[in-house]
Amino acid sequence: MSFTNLLRVAITAILSNKSRTLLSTLGIIIGVAAVIVMMAIGQGSKENVRSELSKMGTNLLTIRPGSDMRGGVRQDPSTQQTLKMDDYVSIREKAHLITHVSPEVTSSGQVIYGSNNTTSSMYGESPEYMEIKLWKIEDGECFTDEDVKKSAKVCVVGKTVVEELFGDKNYDCIGKTVRFKSIPFRIVGVLKSKGYNSWGMDQDNVMIAPYTTVMKRLSAQTYFSSIQMSAISEELSDEAIEQVTAILRENHKIKEGQEDDFSVRSQQEIMETMSSTMDTITLILVVAAAFSLLVAGIGIMNIMLVSVTERTREIGLRMSVGARGRDISRQFLIESIMISLSGGIIGVGLGYLASWTASAIGLPCSVPLWAVILSFGVCAFIGLLFGYIPARKAARMDPIEAIRYE
């Protein structure tokens, strides 16, 4: 039988039993919709992280103490004390591919104003930090190099801190003194809001002070937890990393062949690590959804077996007028593929709808085209796989016995 004839026969058969077809496709519909939504969320959040990170500056470089993971097990970087004042000074002087540098020391704890208090993170930085992380000052101004030199107890604060301490995020708090871990800090500026990032962290719950102040008065340490920098451009990031690495190796007197006791990473690398983590999560979810498709396939096989038995007389008749076994098996295979594919089409539609709804309520969702194509492919394959046994059963019938079947 020609392909168009097979299609016509299959469509007629499917349409003559609409409700059953719909029921048997339900599993496929749900499975495919689930796969599509999973992939949409995976893809969407990846894109979101990417755009978020690039908003922070794609030319951002970070030096952390301790060697990179490539050199075996990585120690907790915060306990390593390899990044010193000396390194910061050298980078400022020698690394001409670096435009801004800021040493970083962090501390988190309670901040108090009057009877209000909240928990926040204190970042000890240089004023250049504003440039590196693309922070904007909304009110007042940033602390100065002079403040750094004097370890002045001044800070700029994020909107969330203002709201928590003063009850109103637009409260004019410049000049007010708050206590962070009981050390008084005078507010000199308020940061423009950045909102939440894609993994749900409130970026406005920060306080930024001169790194010298944080080192001396808060954590009493002489080393940095990291050094934040920006390269001249994104393209020159790799060269800038080499330059900084060379300077630090010299500073730390690391011999040829010896491992670095620090690591310099670009924003790009961080992005890649992050998206590969997300890929893994997406993969796990998709595999789970794929199993549901397998179960759905068994459902289709069940329905097809019933259908073959029900249509025994029809099969016998077709055979008696000249249908060969393979004509019959193709007829049922095409039917099961079409059932499974139409389930796939509805499933993709539903998946799109769900992703669209999700993105309408603010979840990052974007359906990748390849997921749609993959879903159709998988559905066709399931139809073929699970249609095989019923089709073979039909093809092996004896025409006379089949035609006499009651």
């Binding site: 020609s2 168009t4 007389r313 008749l317 007028v321 076994g325 004509d327 025409p399």
Partner: protein, 261 residues
Amino acid sequence: MSEFKQEPNFDAQGRKCVIELRNVKRNFIVGSETVHALRGVSFKIYEGEFVTIMGTSGSGKSTLLNQLGCLDTPTSGEYYLDGVPVKDMKRSQRAILRNRKIGFVFQNYNLLAKTTAVENVELPLMYNRNYSAKERRRAAIEALEAVGLGDRLMHKSNQMSGGQMQRVAIARALVNNPAVLLADEATGNLDTRTSFEMLVLFQKLHAQGRTIIFVTHNPEIAQYSSRNIMLRDGKIREDVLNDNILSAAEALAALPKPQDE
């Protein structure tokens, strides 16, 4: 295949032998019992013969016809179709044979349910790639016109009378221009007039050189065929040639005209 091929044998008038049965037996196992539906049947049918097969109910007529139509295989014995032993054919070869050489009218019509007359008749041609959709439709319409159902093309099988369904079944058997036409009680459900119309059609096909084997209960019909085989209890009791074939067309003309026409 050619090594199995029999020397084509011819009868006195030089007609080729299309069907040859040699001691064909067909047993059915029903529970612990064996039903002997055919107990050794042998005969030759030559090209262009119009054979009626008669016999009491249960004498094995349908079983025999299923053998001739390559729908079933003998328990023992040989069946040569055009000199080729059917036993040695593969299932798919028999299917192709049924599709191209044989037209079969079932005792109980066996139409596709909820399907129009024209689609039912098209069915055999669906399995023949030599026909385009257009040719298929045209051949089906021609066959339906030949059985007088030109005005019922789009009627579904469940919207037709028994006689109409039977005629659709005949049209389906004719549509592939078969060399051998096998009919099991093809006129059983038709009124006298319509059965004569069918007989006229069968005689016309016979005149065109087609081989026809016609199972019937009606002894009258035997007079319109060229040979009559009587079956009893799975065996041939009588096999006679008819020297005086009546014309169905004349008989039809002699029938009283229906009043309301």
